[in-house]
């Protein structure tokens, strides 16, 4: 029991246990720093345990393999960054602060379960644990209109997308009589008792549910509103951990259920990827709200990753994971800057908030510039190598149309990233210079931002160590 279940699931148990410990600590005595410290400790323990936990199948629901552990580590690290950002952010705002960390831990657990699940039951439960945490996190500042509106929007849309997902799972189960990813591939390959009129709609509905969570193009309408309305650290969480966990699941589902053998699925993936790349990059062009720009850009980035997923094989899966790591780093960094700059009464989401930032707070502006250039895919940043590996993997299999569209839309995307960068370096007018905006960045947030910037440049110059880890991770997957 202990060796079979407890030890392999240690990274998950530590996060779940920490949420209970934080809740009990809050019940005894409310203290923001204690709740924050416990959260950070639990996430750090989970992160470390992911390195030495034995690889094992837990029952039929969870597969703790190198691949799952890699994403658990990534999610735990990102959750630590979000917790640090939230600590400074919440300290300046009204209301209770401690519940935030409980909800953060619960939602993080959901994302980790997604990364390990190899069965529809754990897929759905993980998704719901993640979503339930997110509803309350998005509307956490419950006396402000925008977060509450965003929370309700997310609740309605996520609940209906869960219905799509469940119905799809039911159809696949009705056809094949199994909910395990790998059994689906076996049964579909054997071809007996197969009704494509049940299986394909089922897969389509499942992809709808997953596509909603990832904000891929026809299902992306919620993204800008929720990004804008949610508190900045929560937006960082939605953008990275929620989408990362879901993409980890999609890659596992795609490879273990051998969805690449269904040609209609591949056609649908191409359409979704192309639509996401165009929609994200074009919609961002005329936006003046930085959070909404980042929302649209995240739609486009998910489209890029989907191209790599569709290419498939070792190279494709490697490119997916590398791009997701890059996306985590640069998105967390960008939202870290938004969080740090946000004044007490609102989030700093207008492009005017960033005008002339370089002349007021040069280090912050340089960090933001690095993140934006990486999102645009400029060399010497990790974002460049992310796109490079996708294009290399695509070229190897001859997916030229998708690559061409990726290159075209990335070029369009350059425009709106550079628009923000230009604003950062504009000479400020006299009225702005007179405004008393000089605030100090909290040391912890500054540390997170500098670490993210250094990793961004380090991996942008020297990506091979990460590549080796990724190779080992996908070895167990394929």
């Amino acid at each position: 029991m202990i060796a079979d279940y407890i030890i392999p699931s240690l990274p998950l148990l530590l996060v779940a246990g920490t949420s209970v410990v934080v809740m009990l600590a809050v019940a005894v005595r409310r203290n923001h720093s204690v709740a924050f410290g416990l959260t950070l400790l639990g996430l750090a323990a989970s992160f470390c345990s992911a390195f030495f936990v034995p690889v094992r199948q837990l029952g039929i629901l969870l597969t703790v393999d190198r691949y799952g552990l890699f994403f658990i580590g990534l999610i735990a690290a990102a959750a630590m960054a979000v917790a640090v950002l939230a600590h400074g952010y919440l300290a300046e705002r009204e209301g209770n602060k401690e519940e935030f960390y409980i909800l953060l831990l619960v939602a993080t657990l959901g994302a980790m379960v997604l990364a390990c699940s190899s069965h529809f039951v754990s897929l759905f439960l993980g998704l719901e644990v993640l979503s339930i945490g997110l509803y309350s996190l998005i509307g956490y500042l419950r006396e402000r209109p925008l977060p509450v509106e965003a929370g309700i929007k997310y609740l309605v849309l996520a609940a209906s997308s869960s219905a799509f997902l469940l119905f799809g799972i039911a159809l696949v189960y009705a056809d094949l009589g199994t909910m395990e990813f790998s059994r689906i591939a076996q049964l579909a390959a054997s071809g007996t008792n197969l009704h494509y009129d049940l299986l394909l709609p089922g897969v389509a509905l499942i992809l709808t549910g997953i596509g909603f969570k990832l904000a891929l193009a026809p299902f992306h309408m919620w993204t800008p509103d929720i990004y804008q309305g949610a508190p900045a650290p929560v937006t960082a969480f939605v953008a990275t951990i929620s989408k990362g966990g879901m993409f980890a699941l999609l890659l596992r589902y795609f490879s273990q259920s051998r969805l690449d053998l269904f040609s209609p699925v591949l056609v649908v993936f191409s359409i979704i990827a192309i639509a996401s790349m165009f929609a994200g990059n074009l919609l961002a062009l005329f936006e003046n709200n930085v959070k909404r720009i980042l929302a649209y850009s995240s739609i486009a980035h998910m489209g890029y990753v989907l191209v790599a997923l569709e290419v498939g094989g070792q190279a494709g899966a490697g490119a997916v994971i590398f791009y997701l790591v890059a996306y985590f780093i640069m998105t967390l960094g960008a939202f870290a800057v938004v969080t740090v700059l946000s004044p007490r009464e609102r989030d700093a989401d207008q492009i005017d908030d960033y005008r002339g930032l370089f002349w007021r707070r040069p280090w912050l502006a340089l960090g933001f510039t690095a993140m934006l250039l990486s999102l645009a895919g400029i060399p010497l940043t990790v974002g460049f190598f992310g796109k490079f590996y996708i294009i290399a993997a695509g070229a190897a299999t001859g997916a030229w149309a998708l690559i061409l569209i990726l290159v075209i839309t990335s070029t369009i995307g350059l425009f709106y990233y550079l628009r923000v960068v230009v604003a950062l370096f504009q000479k400020q007018t006299e009225t702005e210079a007179a405004a008393p905006t000089r605030r100090r960045t909290a040391p912890a947030a500054a540390l997170v931002l500098s670490v993210l910037t250094l990793v961004l440049i380090w991996l942008g110059v020297f990506p091979s160590p990460l590549l080796r880890i990724i190779q080992a991770a996908i070895h167990t997957l394929l």
Binding site: L61, L62, E99, V106, E128, G139
Partner: protein, 169 residues
């Protein structure tokens, strides 16, 4: 599925659709809840006709029973006050109770007919009892049960935070 069971399935499904539509289109919350109860009851009958009596029972006990009675209590408690009695008289005056009553009567007649006629449950090959469900839940799906408990923890903490009344100065 064949014969009376199939007919019963379609009748119960129709009642489910009608009562759900009425539930979301009512203007008074209590009236909507009455239709929602009927909706859950009809889904229970649907499960029964599909050959899943255990799920049907759970649907009645948990949804139509526990959860909705809680809803009703809360909705009624929120309206406590001076105009409380008038309001309740208004709620249950006239034809407000008639619709849910008719729909429930249809379901009741259906269940009685099915029991009396001894129609066999179709659809699923074997009837699943409580023991099999319990063994599955605490066997291969144990992690799922644990995850559901974490889901409830998150929901409770979130609901407490979002609905808490701060002491106003």
């Amino acid at each position: 599925m064949s014969g009376p069971m199939e007919a019963a399935f379609y009748v119960a499904a129709a009642v489910a659709v009608v009562s759900t539509l009425l539930a979301i289109s009512r203007l008074v919350a209590v009236h909507a809840l009455l239709y929602l109860i009927v909706s859950f009851l009809s889904v229970a009958v649907v499960f029964y006709t599909m050959g899943a009596p255990l799920v049907a029972t759970l649907e009645v006990i948990i949804y139509a029973g526990a959860i909705l009675v809680l809803f009703l209590f809360v909705v009624m408690m929120l309206n406590l006050g001076t105009r409380d009695r008038d309001q309740e008289r208004q709620w249950f005056s006239g034809a407000a109770w008639l619709g849910p009553a008719i729909l429930s009567a249809i379901l009741l007649a259906e269940v009685i007919y099915l029991i009396v006629s001894g129609a066999t449950t179709g659809g699923l090959s074997a009837t699943v009892g409580p023991k099999e469900v319990a063994l599955a839940l605490y066997g291969p799906y144990m992690i799922g049960v644990e995850l559901a408990s974490m889901l409830l923890l998150g929901a409770v903490v979130g609901a407490t935070h979002l609905s808490k009344q701060e002491a106003r100065p």
